[in-house]
Symmetry: C2
């Protein structure tokens, strides 16, 4: 097997910041022999409040960077970019493109019994209506109830993962969604897996939470298998992390998302 | 009086986003005949989590932009830039430079009777120790107790100005500061004037809150007067707002900060 044969190349995962590391974590667990290259645009995070035009321009730069690094697959691990810039990424890419919204929508449709699904995310993701469109494409009979939760990202980054303020905030945001008798709730933001336990507690045991990072890892495994792109090497894989800035507490926050130490960080400019 | 004589030129106010509009609001009230040019770097907000190097590079670009617009005075209405990039701005500027930290520190020293002062701000502002240094330069006997309050900016932007979550968050952040028996608390972030009533309620009536936007307007009036730069024209002034992106809900959030309608917004690239 040639070192640079397509199967041995890394998976390229990108996000506006650290959130996509929850996807990397799920990939590491699900696909322990795949090389992974992560790109986090930490100098320009958060994308959630920027215009569609700006987000597309940034997505184009990141895609070109990862393609130069010869990835075998591109994973858009940022809900905001998946919502508004997927076609930009696809139009530039010579390799397959997957995104967290598609993955979460598939899982939600597979899980729901009542066809009533809730979706929570950042204001930009929710306003884009991308989850609702993706779910309706797969199962048009589904009723979807969405709620923007602007404060969850800063709460997670503050580390208040099991805190009365986070609980009260979740109760406030989820009250209207719970009133709709959903049986499945999509965590439509890569930060939310870190408060999954608290959210499960707030919604109660009868509602199934869809963790889009885990869903993403399953979809990736399926695609690699069906396209014969699974890495045949059985050696410890290489992980590389490119970021555009080294923000305050990056190491600490990044390791909380990745669930392990975060070596091999390289700061680059686009 | 020539239209382009120095006194008639606008005051240049800049911030990483919308927060500096609280300073513009205070200036409009205090100096109703001054032309004001506002620059908000909304495409790259927030600065609070970026590295010192990146913040300095951005401050340089903004300073050069405003100097090309022929402002008579530069006001750094962003605590993060004031904390880490003031000397960069000064080294480039041919006009006087004022900043919110200096203004807030002056007011705090003038107000405190017990020489015990609390300072709250974003993590970057607090970690920079800039308020503590500015206060100690003016009154070395002052005891200063600082607290980073990362969640206040997103809470203000969510519009939860008088909300149980904001109250609980404030109680949590302020508990250690209140234990120090301060008599003065500096609101070291331009977003905080919007939750001043709630904060006053949490700290109680015996603690004096220093609103750095109001302090900034007073310092500006003094400087214009002493340098003979006050605009002699008694006609309705011109207000211009340059931003680098038009984020979601910008108009709504901006008007909440400015306390009035927000016309004449122009989007530019640096």
């Amino acid at each position: 097997m040639m070192k640079n044969s397509p199967e041995c190349r890394p998976i390229g995962v990108f996000d506006s910041g650290v959130g996509g590391l929850t996807v990397v974590r799920a990939l590491m667990e699900r696909l322990p022999f795949e090389n992974i290259l992560y790109f986090g645009d930490t100098a320009r995070v958060p994308y959630g409040v920027k215009s569609v035009e700006t987000i597309n321009a940034y997505a184009r730069q990141i895609t070109e960077f990862l393609l130069r690094k010869e990835v075998k697959l591109l994973i858009i691990a940022c809900n905001t970019m998946a919502a508004v810039a997927r076609s930009t990424v696809e139009s530039l890419s010579v390799v397959p493109v997957l995104d967290v919204i598609e993955a979460g929508a598939h899982r939600a449709v597979a899980e729901t019994r009542t066809h009533s699904v809730g979706v929570i995310g950042t204001p930009t993701t929710i306003n884009s209506n991308a989850y609702a469109r993706a779910i309706c494409r797969l199962a048009p009979e589904t009723h979807i109830f969405s709620q923007a939760c602007a404060l969850f990202v800063p709460l997670v980054e503050e580390g208040w993962l099991d805190h009365p303020v986070t609980r009260l905030t979740a109760q406030e945001y989820l009250r209207p969604v719970l009133a709709e008798h959903i049986d499945t709730l999509v965590l439509g933001c890569t930060h939310y897996p870190l408060i999954k336990a608290l959210l499960q507690d707030v919604v109660g045991p009868d509602i199934h939470l869809v963790d889009s990072a885990e869903a993403m890892a399953d979809v990736t495994a399926d695609l690699l298998h069906s396209r014969h792109l699974t890495n045949p090497e059985r050696i410890p894989p290489e992980y590389r992390f490119y970021i555009t800035d080294v923000p305050l507490r990056f190491q600490q926050i990044g390791e909380r998302f990745l669930g392990r130490s975060l070596p091999g960080i390289e700061r680059i400019s686009l």
